[in-house]
């Protein structure tokens, strides 16, 4: 058991080192270099909605309202802090599925991300 954990730890460390290496180079192609798909929050609406993206995609929500909003998945798998005006929240979807989310401050605001 201990050995498994240790092995996993080493593997994670290795991945981290690879990712860091990727980030430090200008030509490296890592997950983070892919441009995020933008979802704006404007007039108490998430748009576009729904959004369909391939696995591994990052979504960036930007609040353009004068009122704070947040982004909370219905199953609580992701949850932003309250986003004040112009603040953003990013989340990377690593598993396929349909993710419904809402603003827990204004629960009438709902959205959906389809990850394929």
């Amino acid at each position: 058991m201990k050995r498994t954990v240790l092995t996993l730890g080493v593997a994670t460390l290795a991945i981290l080192i690879i990712m860091m290496a990727g980030r430090s180079t200008t030509f490296g192609s890592t997950m983070e270099d892919k441009p995020a798909t933008q979802v704006k929050i404007d007039n108490f609406v998430f748009s576009p909605n729904p959004v369909t993206v391939p696995v591994g995609s990052t979504i960036r929500w930007t609040n353009q309202d004068d009122i704070p909003h947040n982004v909370v998945s219905d199953d609580k798998s992701f949850k932003s802090k309250a986003l004040d005006t112009d603040e953003t929240f990013t989340y990377t979807f690593t598993k396929p599925g349909t993710y419904t989310y809402f603003c827990s401050i204004h629960p009438k605001m709902t959205g959906k991300i389809v990850v394929q």
């Binding site: 004068d66 704070p68 802090k81 401050i105 629960p107």
Partner: protein, 322 residues
């Protein structure tokens, strides 16, 4: 209080034990608050801005209190870059009342982002109010990020659950409800089973002639569900108050005054001390309504004044803060 008033109130025209004249009436609303006077079981309301002409004698009752709402401390966008200043103006109005209120009700959205310094700012300003007791209920802006933990630490010492409580003042039973917690995707404000059950036991022992004041942040009636201006289980709350002859519901959240009378229940929303919001459906969203700076106080000050005789609404008057 004049004896004449007392006699009027005790008269039971319908011989059903319910004192129709004893309905709480809190009808006049100003931009930053409403001043309510309990007279022989009748709650009268005056707009804060229209008080200059009222004599102190007229204002005397068994109980008076003020409601303020939606101070949104920390908000700094063009709709109002000085929310502290307008809250201060509201407090000055309260302090200038000919009869000082016994206490203040704040119906939530005390802060804009639930930041400690925002709560501190409101506490500090309200220390300048002549009425020292302030009773709060949280708005959705007061429970951001921590499920209301900080709110409860500050204001919920004597509260149950997520912050609900009740108290009695001069024979009036006040119930502070929380409808901004555990909101569900696509839903409205929510009270929840635990709170509804508490409410039922809270009023069980009260006689049906006890005037009831219910206060909560999000309206307990369906103002405009498209914008979330309503509470999913408000009917279940009001159903538990059916036996009472006089129920007054005081809410905030929509930054404008509205009234509705339904049977023995009168509903009122208060204006904000910070910024106005559009009339239902009058804008793409319920975001802050921007008005020219010199008009801000006048917009905040616009009030519906609604006098009710028995169950019947007699009229609505607008007045401004200025």
């Amino acid at each position: 209080m004049a004896d004449k008033t007392k006699d009027e109130i005790l008269h039971d025209h319908n011989h059903d034990g319910i004192d129709r004249r004893g309905f709480l009436k809190c009808m006049a609303w100003a931009g930053t608050g409403a001043f309510c006077v309990m007279q022989g079981g009748v709650l009268k309301s005056y707009s804060l801005s229209g008080l200059a002409g009222s004599s102190a004698k007229e204002m005397k009752g068994e109980l008076s209190f003020v409601q303020i709402s939606d101070s949104h401390m920390g908000f700094n966008k063009p709709a109002n870059t000085d929310v502290a200043g307008t809250l201060k103006a509201a407090i000055d109005k309260i302090n200038a009342l000919p009869t000082q209120p016994s206490f203040i009700l704040h119906t939530g959205d005390i802060t804009h982002l639930s930041k400690p310094e925002e709560f501190d700012g409101v506490d500090q300003l309200l220390k300048g109010a002549s009425a020292k007791d302030v009773f709060y209920v949280p708005g959705e802006h007061d429970v951001i990020g921590d499920d209301g933990k900080q709110y409860l630490e500050r204001y919920g010492k004597n509260a149950k659950g997520a912050g609900w409580y009740s108290f009695d003042q001069k024979g009036v039973h006040f119930i502070g409800l929380v409808n901004v917690m555990n909101l569900k995707a696509g839903g409205l404000g929510s009270l929840g089973t635990e709170q509804l059950e508490w409410m039922e036991s809270d009023v069980k022992h009260l006689s049906k002639s006890t005037p009831i004041v219910v206060f909560a942040h999000i309206p307990l009636w369906s103002v405009y569900p498209e914008w979330g201006w309503g509470t999913d289980d408000s009917a279940q709350a009001l159903g538990r108050l059916k036996k009472f002859g006089s129920v007054t519901v005081l809410n905030g959240h929509i930054h404008q005054t509205m009234q509705k009378i339904e049977g023995n229940v009168t509903f009122h929303t208060a204006a904000s001390t910070a910024f106005p919001q559009p009339k239902p459906g009058a804008a793409p969203s319920p975001g802050p309504m921007k008005v020219p700076a010199e008009q801000l106080k006048s917009v905040l000050g616009i009030r519906d004044v609604n006098y009710v005789q028995g169950k019947h609404a007699l009229g609505v008057t607008d007045s401004s803060l200025e």
